[in-house]
Amino acid sequence: MSGDHIHPEPTSFLSKYVFSHDHKVIAKQFMWFGLIWLGIGGIMAMMIRWQLANPGMPVPAIGEFLFPRTNGVLDPATYNTLFTMHGTIMIFLGLTPLMIGAFGNWCIPLMIGARDMIFPLLNMLSFWTVFVGGCVGFYSLFVPMGANEAGWTSYATLSTTVGAQGLGETLWAVAVFLIGASSIMGGINYMTTIIRLRAPGMTWGKLPLTVWALFLTSVLNVLFIPVIGSAMILLFLDRAVGTSFFTPASLMQGGGGGDPILYQHLFWIFGHPEVYILILPAWGFVCDLLSFFARKPAFGYRASVGAMTAVTVLSAVVYGHHMFTTGLSPMLGESFMLLTMIISVPAEILFFNWLHTLWKGNLRLEVPMLWAIGVIFVFGLGGLTGIYLATIGTDIFLHDTYFVVGHFHLTMAASALFGTFGALTFWFPKMFGRRMNQTLGKIHFWGTIVPLTFVFCLMFAMGYAGMPRRYFDHTSAEWLADLQHMNKMATHAAFLLGAVQLVFVYNFIKSRFWGPVAEENPWEVGTLDWSMPTPVPYYNFKEIPTVHTGPHEFSHPALGEDRDWIPMTEKLPT
């Protein structure tokens, strides 16, 4: 049950690599799983962009193969499926498994000094549940009438039998439920592990901020994923059995009486914390990486922890800002506007701490550091544009336009993705014992951040010009046809962005198998995960270490001239 005593190492292929209980193997399973889905979601994004720039033209290269019935041309229903599944896949099957599944599993036991997760069996189940969920989602793409077409939010009644007849939508609800169950299992495991299995001396004030962020993410997972779970069950019953939770009386013969707006409330009670579920791990990585590579203590450790905790708490009470045009009462609308503005305060504190950490440091601009600084940049851009959407006066016009698309892609997609790239490039030497190519890493970074910023900033311009989102073809409305030049530009930049990701794929796979062997602590940091030999032994720590020093004691004056860092297991010289 608990991870603090030693079991014999498994020897068979199945128990070692497939149904492994070892958190490190499970982390890698999550990682490959997430990366593959990230690729699938990315290809979907490319097809969406193609259609927006060239409505009615056959999708090049893969179109003939994927849509033979229409000679490679997207039809509106397929287009709706694409953006729906793009969102679902990126959020639930790409970023969540990567950041929380892979790095939660990798970092938590190693950074707190534990031999494994506290419930290894639950940990394995968590991966195989998300795997089954992913399979259900993938299968739903091929059922008659296609996968979910109602957007990743799947508002009732478009998602009930009123608006969607096929099996795809039902399978989508099942998939989201399973993926959510996996996240809850992971969350319970992470929380209990962090509370119970910290090494002696690893106080709450010495936890690396990555672990803090993952802890708070787990709290959000455990508390708010169940809400979407319930919504999915009710949606499933509405679709499969014919109940009427979300269908009003006027739409049903004889029965009915439900409330479509109830679905929106349930969805966003979960949905807004979900945004923070995706961004908190990235914040944690950034907090640590900035300190590690600026060779300077993380500025305002306690303030950062407090800010992240405040965000966690407040994230539950701001969800109404997704519903400003739904017809909320003015009282509710204004309250949510105020609360949304208040949640920006902890985010600002975190921001100052990051900028302060950089200030007067000794910056090693290695690839993980570039990604961390990249997060400051894109999250700054995305966070600041949130003000337009929190303000009802501007949101009334901007709601459901491309402005929103640009905003949430910068905050929860790009920031989370950059954080993930930072973490991947940072822990790669410990995970695989090899080094990634720095030059290719830098090309990948610059090739990503430039077109990405261009695409999403262009989307702000499109949104301001009034272009609604989720339109199959903007040229069909006269008033939008004269914005097509922006769509074309965005698409070209997006293709460049997509092409540059191939550099990463090449670098990742090549370095994984043929890269030069890495040193045990190439970045010279003191946290426990880097105190271990590479590859990390099956039971991580032969002896559970005792922690004496904080994770960020870089450039301490007592350390002398020859090194600027100290392992957490050593005492600071006096």
Binding site: M191, S230, I233, G258, D259
Partner: protein, 195 residues
Amino acid sequence: MRAAVLNLPREDAATKVNATLGMVFFIGSWAMAFGAIFLSFLVLRQRVGVWPPEGIALPSFPMAAVATAVLLASSALLHLAVKREESDQPGIQPLWIAGLGLGVGFAALQGWLWMDLMGAGRLPTSGLYESLFYGLTWIHAVHVVIGLLSLVWASVGLKTGRYGSHRLSTVSNIAIFWHFVDVVWIVLFLGFFVF
């Protein structure tokens, strides 16, 4: 004594705390799930105006009250069983089996409630009241079934000596889950039959 026969190590205090803590988080999570469902119940009920709706067959109140009593008694027996085993007193097995039996009794009564209502021609598709009644009790019933299976599992383990005073955390966690199922039912009962 049984532990000595099977040569099982006595679980340490830390393992017990770990297991209980994990269970507490799990229950907290599930409470949010049911919280969302109760919230939906309240919102939808408020839309209807007249509650319960007039002029249609409603599920039988006396039967539901009996079911509630049975489930409460079942929960109480399990609690007693765990408490006795913790203080190394004998008698966990008969108490546990009795609790399990009452749990099965609750499931039967629940089934009767559904059959009764369906017999009166009220189906899940008939309207909002039926949607809520069937939907919510189905969701609860899934937990009842999972709970009953776990109770059976635990009673087998108690019989073979796998669980006992030397290894109680699984058993007491199953009891906690059953109490939770109980609490959820009470809220459902209050919502549908009392207020």
